[in-house]
Amino acid sequence: MGTNLIPVEDICAYHHVEINFIQSLEDFGLIHTTVKKQSLFLPVDELTKLEQYLRLANDLEINLEGIHAVSHLLNQLQNMQEEIIALQNELNYYKQLNQHH
């Protein structure tokens, strides 16, 4: 096992989740796994996302289609949050100008 790869089998056992669920997440383009020596691995970078999808499924009983939609909306939310930060900084610039005058 490479240092940056986790066996999907281990993840499934630990989270009590079927491998089909992880494969379905991949089919939806939500995570990316990799095959090495005929075994399926998940890159460590993908783990946070996978955990999030598992929580959405387990805690809130959201199905795969729902997770796909939520993921899309969360990405939009993140983009908007970044835009808000940029706009807040721009607003701060104008506030400083007003104070200066």
Partner: protein, 298 residues
């Protein structure tokens, strides 16, 4: 610690059924789940409370104890033992002055599934599978000049010294992720990540808008009218600028590529804008006044 009313948290009556509790929990969890409320500390706290309330009320044994002992429900076993002891003591004819519990309530960490398992302390630590450690969050204050250049800084995160490189051009409020600087993983699993949020303080002179820098510079009336040179201080040193004749008050000069560095884009910079503030002469002497009067007649 203060008593926590779990029924109130889940907006339930004391006689709520198991189904009522489940419904109330699901409804509130959908609203406050941290995965649906990124970067929202308030929702995070609320979700923990909801989880804790659900943990207690959805478990018949815990709920029974909670209803019976209220804020001391966690010590119910000890209270029962005390009651037993008291009964025995009294039956032996002795007196009993009583013993009050000052112990607080709560303290249990009902974090989400993964954190509880991989952040250590979970009941499943006997497993041998490797899992990622918890992520850490930290705030870092910088001034504008700090953010102008790539530099190294040492932070103390959870008692450990972490030396990081801060790339030039970071924005106020921006978060960066440092993979592997979080809590240690479990069973040789990878460590968690460190998220750093930058808070950049305002500069008294230089104002930043995106990657552009703005500031105001004074010139006297004669330089504005006749033109001349002016040495100004910029973020990376002094520059000599030519002031064209007939420069109007508030006229702006743009120096392309002399502004703020673009984040993680080597040798790319925003622009620098200098607004000329024309300072009018005051306390004119008689001769100066006369000259201005002559000028005004042209």
């Amino acid at each position: 610690m203060d008593y926590i009313d779990y029924y109130k948290i889940l907006d339930l009556k004391k006689d709520a059924t198991t189904e009522d509790i489940k419904k109330a929990y699901r409804k509130l969890a959908r609203k406050h789940h941290p995965d649906l409320n990124p970067n929202n500390e308030e929702a995070n706290k609320k979700f923990q409370q909801i989880n804790e309330a659900n943990e207690v009320l959805s478990d018949p044994e815990k709920r029974k104890k909670y209803d019976k002992y209220g804020k001391d429900w966690q010590h119910a076993d000890q209270l029962d033992a005390q009651e037993q002891q008291q009964r025995q003591y009294q039956s032996q004819g002795g007196g009993y002055g009583g013993n009050s519990y000052s112990g607080g309530f709560g303290g249990e960490d009902f974090s989400d599934f993964f954190s509880s398992m991989f952040g250590g302390g979970g009941g499943r630590s006997s497993r041998n599978s490797p899992f990622k450690g918890q992520d850490y969050n930290a705030d870092l204050q910088l001034n504008l000049l700090d953010a102008y250049t790539t530099h190294k800084q040492t932070l103390t995160v959870n008692g450990k010294q972490v030396r990081i490189t801060i790339p030039a051009g970071v924005e106020n409020g921006q978060k960066i992720k440092l993979p592997g600087y979080g809590a240690a993983g479990v069973n040789n699993g990878p460590p968690g990540d460190l998220y750093i949020k930058f808070n950049i303080t305002d500069h008294p002179k230089f104002k930043r808008k995106g990657n552009d820098i703005y500031f105001q510079e004074e010139i006297d009336l004669y330089t504005a009218i006749l033109g001349g040179e002016k040495i100004v201080e910029t973020l990376n040193g002094k520059v000599k600028l030519k002031v064209p004749e007939g420069t109007q008050p508030d006229a702006t000069l743009r120096l392309k590529g002399k502004g703020f560095p673009l984040y993680k884009k080597e040798n790319q910079f925003g622009d620098l804008y200098i607004k000329w503030q024309v300072k009018l002469p005051t306390n004119l002497n008689a001769e100066q006044k006369e000259l201005f009067e002559k000028l005004s007649k042209f």
